[in-house]
Subunit: 331 residues, 2 copies
């Protein structure tokens, strides 16, 4: 293949989306790195030719010209999406829309758009597709708290590049917002919230910052000071997130009613789940699960439909929660 066409493609991939730009000189260097030795004159000509067929933007107000790719232009994927892939993108969108902050989702939008167009165009000229599939999310469907777009962007970039960042943040118990310098160590997405784990300059200890409480962010191009022994998984399992009540796995045995809990047979709670049929209306399961808060909630809500055979301490705990709840609901 003529290396011209390949060079065109490579160049197109080098031009960044709008807010960022690239100059011919930079392109020349990077192309050279890819083994294309061409004059700057050629690159100038190429960009102009490509502009005819691709949404390239030029800022000619400053010299050297700044080239960028249209911010919202949909992408050309090679090879084109096929029907099942496009469909999967639609599903992904349905699942993710309520989960991810809108700003994060916006980065996927061009892909979703491409998928959507594929579905509408190919084979389905009537565009009936959207009427045929639904994703129903569990839970109460509460809104996610809004995260400032710049904050999320800043934090993720800081994390990736090992830089500090400056945040305007107000913890729940702070009387008013403060500007803090954070050394980011990790980011945790846990359903309604996004947590930034890190240290605050001038203060002790590892902190959890809930991202929606930050109102402004700015990258500070200084290297992060990372505690030697920090590891995100260890941190999570140390119980810091309030997820695990203890590190001991729970060996759970339940006697369940049909049909209420029938789904447990087909959607086991863990890899080692064993199921024993007792009679037409009852079965038992045995499975190892994490000792979490979510487990307690689930057991509390499902207590009507099952007996907690083991462990006994957990049964007692649920009994306590139910008794307390009942006392309260009776006013």
């Amino acid at each position: 293949m003529s290396n011209t066409a390949v060079r065109y493609l490579t160049m197109l991939r080098m031009v960044p989306r709008f807010p960022k730009t690239i100059t011919t000189t930079e392109l020349a260097e990077r192309l050279d790195g890819h083994g294309f030795e061409v004059t700057m004159r050629s690159i100038q000509r190429d960009l102009e030719k490509l502009s005819a067929d691709f949404p390239l933007l030029v800022d000619e107000s400053t010299r050297p010209f700044q080239w960028s790719f249209d911010r919202d232009a949909t992408m050309d994927i090679i090879p084109a999406l096929d029907l099942p892939a496009a469909l999967t993108f639609e599903l992904a969108r349905a699942y993710l829309s309520p989960m991810l902050p809108p700003r994060a989702l916006s980065h996927l939008k061009p892909h979703f758009d491409e998928a959507h167009r594929t579905l509408l165009r190919e084979k389905n000229p009537l565009g009936k597709w959207p009427d045929r599939v639904r994703v129903i999310n569990r839970g109460l469907g509460g809104r996610r708290p809004a995260i400032d777009a710049d904050v999320l962007e800043t934090v993720t970039e800081a994390l990736l590049r090992d830089f500090r960042c400056k945040l305007t943040y107000q913890a729940r118990n702070w009387p008013e917002p403060e500007v803090i310098i954070v050394h980011p160590l990790g980011l945790i997405f846990r359903d309604p919230n996004v947590y930034l784990i890190g240290t605050i300059e001038g203060r002790e200890g590892i902190r959890q910052l809930v991202l929606h409480r930050a109102t402004a962010g700015e990258l500070v191009e200084q290297p992060v000071e990372r505690p030697e022994d920090f590891e995100l998984d260890l941190y999570i399992h140390s119980g810091a997130m309030g997820i695990l009540k203890s590190n001991k796995p729970v060996y759970l045995r339940l006697r369940c009613d049909r049909p209420a809990l029938n789904h447990l047979v087909e959607s086991p709670l863990g890899f080692d789940q064993t199921t024993t049929e007792i009679d037409d209306n009852t079965f038992e399961i045995a499975v190892t699960v994490g000792d979490t808060q979510d487990l307690r909630w689930w057991l509390t809500a499902q207590a009507v439909h099952c007996d907690i055979l083991a462990p006994d301490w957990l049964r007692k705990e649920i009994e306590g929660i139910l008794a307390q709840g009942l006392g309260r609901v009776r006013q």
Copy 2:
């Protein structure tokens, strides 16, 4: 821009991924449709040139040659993914992996791969990125029941193209699997399961088929007979999925404890939620929510942390559930 380069690009997008193939004749027709009038000879030459730079496969054992794109080749996206976009793909993968059937996910794999490579390459030569971000899913993390790959593929294609499909299916109360012809009307993803809504040929009424109970599927190229008045949303809201207990929205008023339910302030349960501070340890919320099973579970589990001020019937209902659960857990 020379139309040769554009033609190359267009051609690349026309070549389908491996199991499917395309011939030069077909390409000629489709290119013609896009306004490229070229000889077949040129197309033959083009494909060979492109093979040098792209993972194109040829089956030369049969005449005309069958061209296809490597099944697993990662994609070239224009423009290339930037850091935040790549990051969002990683997040999407973390969220979706436990939610979607593996077969569906496999269609996104080339995209996830591309994102992963971007993250590892750019700015993050140490490849530390995976250590820095975690997604923690709520709930008990039960496995999704496995859905047969062909079944999912067949069903989605049938839905999109308005064809019937033949499934080997065993409903819970059927003594053994049967081969049925289904007229698919809609597909519903609801957390652990995927439901195909449709009619079964030779039987009355609209059925819900849980996809993981089908073991084989095959497209039947005959048009679907669609009941005149069927609409997926209406179907869901009619209560057929057991999601809504009634169609009446519930105007819920809760008096909540801090800090247990503090998150409700920042992640409201609905658009119209209003929050009233009572004292340092208490606040009230009022919000309209759907009358769902999930609502009851949630209230049951949270009864320890809040008073249900209204509606009274719901308070009584939760009281009943708690009492019943307590009775049972006490053995």
